[in-house]
């Protein structure tokens, strides 16, 4: 362990920390008070951008190091994934401008991202746990930040309680694994996956369920619709995209290089399948956009966990690509969402009626995102889904793949319904043409650019992952 390694390997995290400190200092110096412009927001954006740049540069330089051997290590693939996940936070910051004043939002977001960084590089369950908690705790507060609405408090509490349950399950699993092996490194998990020892198996199951709860997999999904609905738009976007991405990438890391076999295979296949089916079915009946996205993200978590059924070499690629496509398009929905008089109204699906005539740009963006999330070509969501199911079939699980695809068919209807509202209905009587916000447009254009790149040059993108 050298100082250079500690400095370099954790450079993205260091930069985030620096940003947090800077923001707090700004606040103390009185430069971040309400009405003092957008300084905190700019600082946060610059910080995340710098962290993304650092991670990407290190990855391109094929940098690999383990500054804290057995606890924290980075490889080019990890760094690239880290850069991508952090980059997905940039549109969130952009679209939050105007929704949040002051320094709370950026500081909490950066802290959460710090946890994401730790999770993606964790080699031991201690670091993983630390990362998971550092990521989650600020999000509970972020949900509450929009306490203009009474539901926010309820949502935050629900999220907190269930998040606590998840942590407890995760820790219980880890302690069982530790009890059986005497070690805390994540390789214990892969060894326990194949073991017939009931304690090891119980440990594995608990750890997996912990992940499922965090990623909102049926039947541990009930918190997601409430939390997504209660939070304000940027926070929902953050939960749906960045948090989910971090949990999935951490899960891929923990599952390591082991081909899943029965009975763990069933655990990792059946619950995500149930998620796909139930998420898509329940989404059909939602009247609130954020609840619908919540159910949609429950289904997408199912596809993402499906990627674990594939051969170990392809998992990271499949999950990263999926997250890239899913993240960009989900963020696009939230960024392009037209502003409304109040948050509650903005959330209603019928608020979108006739959107094409009020704001063609927003309607086209949201429409594209919906089709992509539904997995319809030529949009990137299709290629991502294709990649996942290709790996599942190549691993010999054809039945699960077919069931998963049929489950994804159930999802098409509610995505189309949004398009129907926007293009085929007359304008909602209450809706008025609202001017687009510049930063939201910038955020959506960034997402569109990413989408186009992924859709037109998927081969290039995949070969980079």
């Amino acid at each position: 362990m050298s100082w250079r390694d500690i400095l370099l390997a954790m450079l993205p995290e260091h930069l985030l920390l620096l940003g947090i400190v800077l923001l707090i200092l700004l606040d103390i110096a009185g430069l971040a008070r309400r009405g003092s412009g957008q300084i905190p927001s700019w600082v946060a954006l610059a910080t995340v951008a710098a962290a993304v740049w650092a991670a990407a540069q290190l990855s391109l330089g094929a940098y690999a190091a383990a500054p804290f051997a057995g606890h924290f290590s980075v490889e080019p693939a990890t760094l690239l994934a880290k850069a991508l996940v952090l980059a997905l936070a940039l549109p969130v910051l952009l679209m939050s401008r105007g929704d949040f004043d002051g320094v709370e939002f950026p500081v909490l977001l950066l802290s959460s991202l710090y946890g994401v960084g730790l999770m993606l590089s964790a080699d031991s369950f201690l670091t993983l746990f630390l990362g998971l908690e550092i990521m989650s705790l600020p999000v509970y507060v972020l949900v509450l930040l929009a306490y203009r609405r009474p539901q926010s408090a309820e949502a935050a509490l629900k999220y907190l309680v269930l998040g606590g349950t998840s942590t407890a399950m995760f820790m219980m699993g880890v302690s069982l694994l530790y009890g059986g092996s005497g070690a805390m490194d994540i390789a214990v998990f892969t060894r326990a996956l194949g073991s017939a020892d009931s304690m090891a198996r119980a440990g594995v199951v608990l750890v997996v369920l912990g992940f499922f709860l965090k990623a909102a997999i049926v039947p541990f999904h009930a918190w997601a619709p409430d939390a997504y609905e209660g939070a304000s738009v940027p926070v929902t976007a953050y939960m749906a995209v960045v948090v989910k991405a971090a949990v999935l990438l951490a899960a891929v890391r923990v599952f390591g290089q082991v081909q899943l076999a029965s009975p763990m295979l069933e655990l990792v296949a059946v619950l995500p399948l149930a998620s796909i089916v139930w998420g898509n079915l329940a989404a059909m009946r939602q009247a609130s956009l954020r609840r619908m996205i919540a159910y949609s993200s429950i289904a997408h978590a199912g596809y993402l966990f499906y990627a674990l059924l594939g051969a170990p070499e392809g998992r990271m690629q499949a999950v990263t690509f999926y997250l890239l496509a899913y993240g960009a398009l989900n963020l696009l929905v939230f960024a392009a969402l037209p502003p409304a008089a109040d948050d509650q109204e903005r959330d209603r699906l019928d608020h979108l009626q006739g959107l094409f005539h009020r704001s063609p740009f927003a309607a086209l963006m949201i429409g594209m995102a919906m089709l992509s999330l539904a997995g319809i070509p030529p949009f990137p969501g299709f290629i991502a889904k294709f990649l996942v199911f290709k790996n599942v079939i190549a691993a010999g699980h054809t039945t699960y793949a077919v069931l998963g695809l049929l489950g994804s068919y159930l999802g098409i209807y509610f995505y189309l319904r949004v398009i129907q509202f926007m293009f085929m209905s007359d304008a909602a009587p209450t809706a008025a043409a609202a001017p687009l916000r510049r930063h939201a447009v910038a955020a959506s254009l960034a997402c569109v650019a990413l989408t186009v790149v992924v859709a037109v040059f998927p081969g290039w993108v995949i070969s980079q992952l």
């Binding site: 070509p377 793949a401 695809l405 129907q420 998927p458």
Partner: protein, 513 residues
């Protein structure tokens, strides 16, 4: 090679046009129409040039482009012309400007979006015909749904939302299972031969066990049969046709339905020859049921659009019958029948659209004696009716006659040997379908053009110059294909032979009808 670049241009022109419309000024509807018509005409001209340059003595692909797209999966951007797609590409390009021009007066709402959708559909249909890579084909195949969904949903009739959702969900269901089959097929090819490729040429070489072939063909066939559509998967079609705007109906009937039969011919049957042999009796039966059932339904409709919609089901049954006969004449007849139906059904839908624009009703009972009110309209209508019936000298005759010839030619030997009488029975019933076809079309024409003079909206103006041009071009094409089928037949001959060889070399002993 300039031809290959021109082919790429032909494919991409509509996409460029859609991009152009995106940045063109809003509110200038005439500019939008002009841009679209100009691009479509250019596309037709270029396609015509390629058609002439297409060498009918060369088997396989011509004017090919092959570029890596997703290299690690073996996915290529590979397009080209061959005997399978040349006529359908020509048909698509031919109908493009006509569809564009036909909507000049009918569409006044969201004109820019409408023409963007027309261009995108044109792009996707061209792409699906030209694609020589399964992944690329699937992408185009699915992309087609999106603009069509919007077209029916935004500019359709009063039950448009129901119709368009039904259309989308029906076709997407077939596609999702086809997707599983596509992945499985490519993966099998990879494990058995080590070749990682989505190219049709490579996939044809994969010889899978019969059981696997059966499942895969079932998945592909479901998707294609929904698109054709074959009875009993046809229920989306009347709804979609009736609710769609005229341009949508024309695109649906003219080109989109041929995707299904083209898919069977290009992919379904050649990829899984053993399973095809096994399924042939069932598919043939369904084809003949489609012919007769579609015709019977067309006979009792009160809505003029529905009559033509059901007649499409009937006419595409002949295409399936021809493809399954595995006789050269039958296969070539099927291809001609595809083009012929594309022209005739498109023409009839255009004519229905024209009368609807004037009278705003599609009730057959509301009309009568139009021959006296609209003489020019009636002449065109009668010609297209007779082409639909399959009168000699029209394209409908060429197609149906060759298909039935092929069906009998294939059916006679097993019958004479006393092995299998089913094909002969089916062929005889299919001939009865021709009679039914005459019955429903003549009933339609009789009520429409003759009898007591009535129209819901008078006075009626006869066709204007634009409408005459559109219909004139279609009628010319119908007669050209009916009187001089030699040229098109020669262009497709080698492909038909290749298809026959691919599908029939590996017939299972005993399973052959």
């Amino acid at each position: 090679m300039p031809e290959a670049s021109v082919l790429n241009l032909v494919l991409c022109l509509p996409l460029l046009g859609a991009g152009l419309l995106l940045v063109s000024p809003t509110g200038r509807d005439d500019l939008t129409r002009g841009i679209t018509l100009g691009l479509m005409t250019l596309q037709l001209a270029l396609t015509g040039w390629l058609y002439v340059r297409f060498d009918s003595a060369v088997a396989g692909l011509q004017f090919e482009t092959r570029l890596p797209w997703i290299a690690t999966w073996g996915v290529h951007y590979q397009i080209g012309l061959d005997g399978y797609n040349i006529l359908l590409v020509m048909l698509t390009a031919f109908l493009g400007p006509l569809v564009t021009a036909s909507a000049f007066s009918a569409i006044t709402k969201d004109v820019k979006l409408f023409y963007a959708m027309v261009l995108l559909i044109q792009f996707a249909m061209m792409g699906a015909f030209l694609a020589q890579d399964l992944f690329l084909f699937y992408v185009f195949w699915e992309t087609m749904l999106i603009p069509m969904f919007l077209m029916i949903g935004i500019w359709g009739g009063e039950r448009r939302i129901y119709a368009t959702l039904k259309f989308f969900l029906y076709t997407a269901f077939g596609s999702i299972l086809m997707l599983a089959a596509v992945i499985y097929l490519v993966w099998s090819l990879q494990t058995t031969t080590g070749v990682v490729s989505f190219a049709f040429a490579d996939l044809v070489k994969a010889r899978l066990p019969l059981g696997v072939q059966g499942w895969l063909l079932a998945a592909f066939a479901l998707s294609f049969a929904i698109k054709v559509p074959m009875v009993p998967l046809h229920t989306w079609l009347p709804d979609a046709h009736v609710q769609a705007p005229t341009a949508g109906s024309v695109i649906l009937a003219g080109v989109l339905l041929k995707m299904g039969t083209y898919g069977f011919m290009k992919l379904g049957f050649p990829l899984f020859p053993d399973a095809t042999a096994l399924f042939t009796p069932w598919l043939m039966t369904l084809a003949v049921v489609s012919i007769v059932y579609g015709a019977c339904l067309a006979l009792v409709q009160d809505d003029i659009k529905k009559i033509i919609a059901y007649s499409s089901i009937s006419h595409l049954g002949y295409v399936m019958l021809g493809l399954l006969s595995l006789e050269l004449v039958g296969i070539q007849g099927a291809v001609i029948q595809m083009v012929s139906h594309g022209l005739v059904a498109a023409g009839l839908f255009l004519m229905v659209g024209m009368i609807y624009e004037r009278c705003h009703t599609r009730e057959l009972a509301a009309y009568g004696g139009l021959a006296r009110l609209l003489p020019v309209y009636s002449v065109f209508f009668m010609i297209l009716t007779l082409a639909s019936v399959g009168l000699p000298t029209t394209s409908g005759f060429t197609g149906e006659f060759l298909v039935l010839l092929g069906a009998f030619k294939a059916a006679w030997p097993p019958h004479a040997l006393g092995l299998n009488h089913l094909p002969l029975v089916l062929a005889v019933v299919a001939v009865a379908g021709v009679v039914l076809g005459a019955l429903y079309m003549l009933r339609f024409a009789l009520g429409f053009l003759y009898g007591a003079t009535k129209a819901p909206h008078q006075p009626l103006s006869d066709l204007n110059g634009r409408e005459k041009t559109i219909l004139g071009l279609i009628v010319v094409a119908v007669f050209a294909l009916g009187l001089f089928p030699d040229g098109p037949l020669r262009k497709t001959e080698l492909a038909a032979k290749a298809y026959k060889q691919l599908v029939s070399t590996s017939r299972l002993p005993g399973a052959s009808p």
